[in-house]
Assembly symmetry: D3
Homo-oligomer: 247 residues x 6
């Protein structure tokens, strides 16, 4: 249930205390995939998970609008990448969740499509659960499932999922170049430390991994698995004893 | 041109230094209109304006994703209304624009669909233009055109525009009740001062104005006028001498 | 009753829960009017309103010192203009009101003399009323009365009021030049949007409107009307049911 | 020269790069002295100092409006005391000085009338001088001269100065009670540490020291000495080599 | 070279532009290990690494004092755990590094002993390298080496290292109880998400892993490996081209 | 009792509600004394005081790790000086104390070794005592005792105490030069105002006072006196009625 498509009395009549907040990013994903990749995937996974949860429980969980701009300064070397500071991102998500809690939706699952948001979301879900009137956790879809291949960036995993969601969104004729100019791994590592703070230090075209290995069929499997994982998480969050969480 | 649908090389090849940032809100719009009304209208006006500008000039202007959650605590009395603090909203929009300017899009028009955002946008466009590496102004569509009727809230103007954009989005069977429970005007005024800080102090169902007076035809006219006004504004911003604006 | 002229036991014995906080600005008002114009007018209107209220009700309302420096970066092109950031201004006023509330003065009317402060005051009176231990509204005097003429800046309205308050404060010999160099209206508008963030983009000498049209008699009428309007507002604030305002 | 009484061209024609910023407080000063005592004294000392400096050098130094509300939470136990947080006070004064520096007044002396402001002013004058476009120092008048008697609070020193400035401002009939209920010293000390954070922990009526020992003649001497000290400071600030001060 | 043991001329004569900043935490480590465990380990690893680097290169690298209190709210359920907010921790470390850079030590390696600090350090090293006058990376010792066993918390890895550094610091008689009450793994996981924000939700005595498996010999190996890894990192940071890092 | 050397059950079993937080600085102390001087002295005084208190009362008071980096921008002219902003320092100390209060240690004495920290500590102990769940005061050791000689900076007082604590820490061969290049007093004063914001404006080698006058015997006396003073303060804080302190 898309909260933004509902009217306020429809939300008032919603009995769940669960809500889902998708969080994406607008950042380069190579010459073949759209800047909005992470927003598209977070939105799709949120919908798949809420649908799966509805099928299992009969309950409708509101999905807020996807927050479209995240923490992506590391991709600033590539045109069109948008970003806000971690402080601002944290505040924007935390306060959005506080407004959900004001209406009684105080068990919140953030569905995240971008690795660069993960640390910040880990931080604020702890803070929210300790200090605010809500319990929150963050689900980064590609960390919760078997992705079959390395995640990379604009690589086979994301390219597959986008292909499944919207075949046209992938520039097929750019795939060979995307693959050729890609880095094999993320970063430049010494002693377990990545010396490269920006992605243009180690990838020429923004890609990590081989997007020519992507298929819509893998994308479909990824979406199903992510939706099922999110549904399982919603079940667990719904029934979790919050006694220890409140300050 | 939707920035999020483009790839980074496509944005790199875009010659404009203009960009458009739509800003909406997720907040009650009565029992008949969706919570996402202001996001829908801001998005549609941004697209109409960029299309009109393209027709006139041949130039493509990137539109960022619509920022979906704004300043709406005044509607917190109605379920499903989401909001962030003015500080956080200002930071989120300002930093998004700074990232645009990083890529050379340093003449930015914010397209706003929500009256509650207007003051904050006026403030940051001044600050951005004085202190940051960009020039910015904010266009609140219903302030820039002849709306034929009083704006209200969830009233004939917004309901018309939504009807035109997506007929199904308006709950037709709720319109009589929406009209009946509506307030005639916004707020409770003494000596030019509104004593009511929250909308549920003066409207029972969240509506101000009579939504039964809405028509898709008026919506179409509103969209055309807004698009034309935005195109005219883009022309003016594109050619404006920024000598005086920089600190 | 000027709070700063009273002793603490005199304030302790004051039975009102009303207080008035005048807020001005120190900023250019053309070659003929003093930089302190907005502080003078806010102070005078506060006193007139509290006197009128006392006449009607017999009650004494404390007036705090006038906050003399506001949001005026838009006038930075003219010497002597002082300003603080909107964040700092909001914090300064909000915390001042919190200290009033600590002593039981928790129904507060801000009396504002400067248009540039209006948006910020609208924002914090909402926040104070929702989150702090007080109810507050802001009265910008020239928005609450019939001013007979366009407000402008350093124009006939303000010049009249200053003439009435302190005839010497207006440099009479500068009036012709002030009028000649004045802009007719505020800003440079396209599609309902003001493209000029700073006043020196559209007025050569800082004036908007014709100050030669000012008279002390109009100033006297403006003061009486403003005082009456403020008294009416105090009556309304005093009796307002705050049940809905408290979080 | 009161900046707020001048017009912008008059300030433009002012050749000094010195400016004076008086800072007071609105806080209890016992049953006999007004809440505005520190604002009155800071204002008077600023004027006396600028006059003495003018006499010596022929130069006119602008005095900004007195900032009337400072750091005074320690007096919150007594009605009418107003205060802001140290953070907000620091920002308000620092940004005011930044706006002076924008116009070329970049050697600034703060004239302070309240002990509770001293630490914060010491901090920001260092920060301003290191990081901003100005050099600033803070002069707390009763620290810069021979006060003949212990400062106290609402005691003989302040009461004398107020008596000299405005005889009516002191409630003479309250003086015996003020004296009787006064504390002998400020605070409760163990091992060089004051255990009392608020003044109502050690004084019943807010007074420290004996205000019956005050005389207008002492007040006059205090004002002359303070003015002379401030003039000497202005001379030193005017001629100070700022080479080492700039970052 | 401990910076705090040196005099300023000794630091002035130091030719390196490298510096090491150890960061620990003061938090529960079970009934057998001291609250200062992470501070002890970070300090020891920093010293071992700088010594190894000196042996290889002959260069002396200053080590700042260890920052002893970090991000540890997750352990607040156990007595004696100290923590600051992530915002404050980030500012404290970032500004410390800015002061190092002021003196020319602008290639900085943070040596971290606490997993809860990792995300925050990742964030600020990026921000420092992009926006400040320094390049920084963070080395969390147990992520950079072969630890032979699972890290846990107060488990075999940390207990071994402390045993090696200071045998007395481990309460040997508490080891059996520590082992018995320990959790096997960190957190409560569903779909790749840890539902437990605080450690007392999944471990009764604060321990994760079996500390009875610890040996001083393993501790010695861990220290050697960590020191070697840090030395290798210092070599890489010293020679890294910073062209791309500066804004 | 060093908190960081204890385990959490040992802290749990501690019955005191007192805690001691030592605060130092890492900053130049001339060519003869280490940069860590203030951290060493604060730590030693804290230990001496807690030992003396234990002797008197039998009670054990936990001492937190010493916060090693403070407010020292004024010494930035000398290499190796580290500092954070006053805001960050205040937050770091305040939040550390809040975490102590979480465990019931809500009567806190800060033991400070650096004059530059004093104002900030005065501010936050007031704020903590008014707004947080703890009562706090700050003891700057050289302000609480008879120091026999002028404090200076790296002068006879500090040099004596360091000599007593660690004879090797003082570079004896640098003492003559240290003395010769020293300033006689701190700052450049006009009208009670120090015109010098940074120490390198008035001392060539960072020293104020004559360190050749230092003796370990004086150091021993200073430590005993400081410890006794701190013990007396702990007694007073332990028994203080906090009724008036809580908001």
């Amino acid at each position: 249930m898309q909260l933004s498509a509902a009217t306020w009395p429809e939300i008032r009549d919603c009995e769940s205390d669960l809500a889902v907040v998708p969080v994406g990013s607008t950042e380069q994903h190579g010459p073949h995939a759209p800047l909005g990749t992470d927003t598209l995937t977070a939105t799709a996974v949120a919908e798949a998970g809420v649908a799966a949860y509805h099928e299992q429980t009969g309950e409708d969980v509101p999905i807020t609008p996807t927050i479209p701009i995240g923490i992506a300064a590391e991709h600033r070397g590539f045109d069109g990448t948008l970003w806000v500071s971690p402080e601002t991102f944290r505040a924007y998500v935390r306060e959005t969740i506080a407004s959900l809690a004001h209406h009684g939706f105080d068990r919140v699952v953030i569905v995240n499509g971008h690795g660069g948001n993960t640390d910040a979301l880990g931080e604020i879900t702890g803070t929210i659960s300790r200090e605010d009137a809500a319990y929150a956790v963050a689900f980064t879809w590609f960390e919760g499932i078997d992705t079959e291949r390395e995640m990379g960036h604009g690589g086979p995993v994301e390219t597959s999922l986008i292909s499944h969601l919207d075949r046209e969104a992938i520039r097929e004729n750019e795939l060979p170049a995307a693959s050729e100019g890609a880095a094999e791994g993320w970063g430049e590592w010494v002693a377990g430390v990545n010396l490269a703070h920006d992605s243009d230090e180690f990838t020429d075209n923004g890609v990590v991994g081989d997007p020519t290995a992507a298929t819509p069929e893998l994308g479909e499997r990824l979406l199903t698995r992510s939706g099922d994982a999110l549904a399982a998480l919603l079940v667990a969050v719904d029934s979790r004893d919050r006694g220890d969480e409140t300050d």
